[in-house]
């Protein structure tokens, strides 16, 4: 059981747990947490792959993970903004039901 294998298996497990959460969770914030967990699972697998080579640590997976994190942040922000906009509309409707 090498370090690399532990990281890889944990990464795939995180992806699976996140996927389960995404399907089961009802609240949008929970869904977003689940999606981010899936992302972290993939990133861990990439980082474990960096150790996969024979001698030196491979730098490419680190660059990929960095890009992936940026994309994940952008996606999460957009989803949160959409969720906030929807709840604002719902609150307004609750205050003035006649509109």
């Amino acid at each position: 059981m090498t370090q690399e294998l532990i990281y890889s298996v944990t990464g795939i497990a995180l992806f699976a747990i996140g996927l389960f959460g995404l399907i089961v969770a009802g609240h949008i914030v929970r869904k977003l947490v689940a999606i981010n967990m899936m992302g972290i699972g993939v990133f861990m697998l990439f980082l474990a792959t960096a150790l996969h080579g024979p001698d030196t640590v491979d730098p490419i997976p680190h660059a990929l993970v960095l890009t992936g994190i940026v994309v994940a942040v952008a996606g999460t922000c957009l989803c949160l903004w959409l969720a906030i906009s929807i709840s604002k509309l719902d609150n307004e409707k609750r205050k003035n039901p006649q509109q």
Binding site: S8, F15, L19, L22, I28, K31, I35, M38, G39, G41, V42, L45, F46, T49, H52, G53, D58, I60, P61, L64, T67, G68, V71, A74, G75, L78, C79, L82, A83, S85, I86, L89, D90
Partner: protein, 499 residues
């Protein structure tokens, strides 16, 4: 000679020009409506795509359509590559963008919405062009996310609750799809130590890791392509987006992920595909054709009907996989299944955009799109109904439209490969498409109470240019049917370049 000199720089230019357009539009937030600027960028994109097509079809020169960004070659660097398939899709994107940019300049009368629309609109084009030219598996992930995030923001632009909910759902599906794809790429990188598509193609072997990677990549891409049963997000998203956005989502965005399916299954990892899996994709495609057509027939709103029609048309695209299964080497040959599908993609992109514009104009005029409330509008909106009808003819596959040629080639492929059951699905699907299109035409041509209904409705006149934009696209879909040769030739040229 000149063309050979500039040809390598075409590829980065095709990605950079729409990005430049996005930045220009972002900086010019106070200007309105920006018709000239965006038409100019649209023309530039058409010009670049045209030059690429010419460069690829030069008979005597083997132009290496490959650009290594910043001089870092694979596996470390990122490459852009183009073949005939990519060039045709780039041209389709460019033409649609030109027409729809003109349309959008008239459609977005609200200054605030316009200011938010244009940068996202061109960012979406950047992502699309990037996908078609990508030569690197991770670069595909980034461009897919650019497309996804820009599409979500564009859908949300409508601002009403239905659009926001549809956008949120689309965002979640998009992120899920991208992560599945990325996990597949991680497995590929682990197995082969490269992200370059050409290197992957030469290194790939049929083993459980490659199968797992291809399955994950496919699930991710099928979610984004909305193949049944992963189509649930498409109708609300495409139906509630602003009109030009709906047109691009149905016409181009689902095709981008389909294009990647074609690349991965037939070009990069054909060793990992099995006949059973290829047949399964065909079965899902057939189910999508039937379910999409039936749902379209039962839809109450016009835009929902057009969106379900996209679910059905996406189904046809997946018939490519079983039809190419019998002769994997022959798939690139002109007249083969791939040629049929490329024809289908282009025909559908043109016809569906035209149809969304016609539906959007009708909605603009009556402020709703309940099909039952549109009884007898043909006298008030003759041009839009005409556009709808000829775009519909191409979707059904009536001669001489491009849709007819596409289905004819597909039928040929089904018969010649001895898989007649797909031919039955294609023919029956055409009948079902005719059912929903004629259901709508039946309603709008019904003149029984025309005078009194028209008095109640207070139609707002549609600007002529907006109607003509739709008509132009629909006419192009018909004209493509008259001249099938050049595109088929180009595809066969591409085989030599990409091989």
């Amino acid at each position: 000679m000149t063309l050979q000199f500039i040809a390598p720089y075409l590829l980065p230019a095709i990605v950079t020009v729409p990005l430049l357009a996005a930045i220009c539009n972002f900086l010019m937030a106070s200007h309105h409506p920006r018709l000239a600027l965006n038409a100019l960028f649209g023309l530039a994109q058409v010009l670049l795509a045209g030059l690429l097509l010419i460069a690829l079809s030069l008979p005597d020169t083997v132009v290496e359509m490959r650009y290594i960004l910043a001089g870092w070659s694979a596996p470390l660097g990122i490459e852009l590559i183009a073949d005939g398939l990519a060039a045709i899709l780039l041209m389709t994107t460019a033409v649609l963008y030109l027409v729809l940019s003109v349309y959008s300049a008239l459609y977005f009368t609200d200054k605030n919405k316009g200011a938010r629309f244009w940068p996202l609109w061109w960012l979406l084009a950047t992502g699309l062009n990037g996908v078609f030219l990508a030569g690197d598996a991770f670069n595909i992930y980034v461009t897919l996310e650019i497309i996804g995030l820009a599409s979500v923001a564009l859908i949300a632009l409508s601002g009403d609750r239905a659009a926001l909910v549809a956008a949120l759902r689309y965002a979640l599906v998009g992120l899920l799809g991208s992560l599945c794809y990325l996990l597949g790429v991680a497995l590929l990188y682990r197995a082969y130590g490269t992200l370059d598509l050409a290197q992957l193609a030469s290194l790939a072997e049929a083993n459980p890791l490659t199968w797992a990677a291809l399955s994950l990549i496919s699930v991710g891409l099928l979610l984004k392509t909305a193949l049944l049963p992963l189509h649930f997000w498409l109708p609300p998203a495409h139906a509630s987006a602003p009109v030009p956005v709906s047109a691009v989502l149905s016409g181009l965005v689902v095709k981008a992920s389909f294009y990647l399916m074609v690349r991965f299954w037939l070009d990069i990892l054909p060793v990992a595909t099995t006949t059973l899996a290829l047949q399964l994709l065909g079965v899902l495609g057939t189910a999508a054709i039937f379910w999409g057509c039936i749902s379209a027939y039962r839809a109450h709103r016009l835009k929902v009907m057009v969106a379900y029609s996209t679910v059905a048309q996406v189904g046809y695209l997946f018939l490519l996989f079983p039809l190419s299964a019998t002769s994997i080497d022959a798939w690139k040959v002109s007249g083969g299944a791939l040629a049929a599908i490329v024809y289908f993609v282009v025909a559908h992109a043109l016809a569906k955009s035209a149809m969304f514009i016609a539906a959007g104009n009708i909605m603009f005029s009556y402020r709703h799109d309940d099909i039952d409330g549109l009884r007898g509008i043909v006298r008030e909106q003759p041009l839009d109904v005409f556009t709808f009808a000829i775009a519909g003819a191409s979707l059904i596959g009536l001669p001489p439209s491009a849709g007819f040629i596409a289905k004819w080639l597909l039928l040929g492929g089904a018969i010649s490969s001895g898989q007649w059951w797909w031919a039955a699905a294609i023919l029956f699907g055409g009948l079902l498409a005719a059912a929903y299109i004629f259901r709508f035409l039946n309603v709008v041509f019904d003149q029984s109470q025309a005078a009194e209904l028209s008095a109640q409705r207070h139609a707002r006149p549609v600007p002529l240019t907006m109607a003509l934009c739709g008509l132009a696209l629909a006419v192009m879909a018909i004209l493509m049917g008259f001249n099938a040769g050049w595109m088929l030739e180009l595809l066969s040229v591409s085989a030599a370049v990409s091989a």
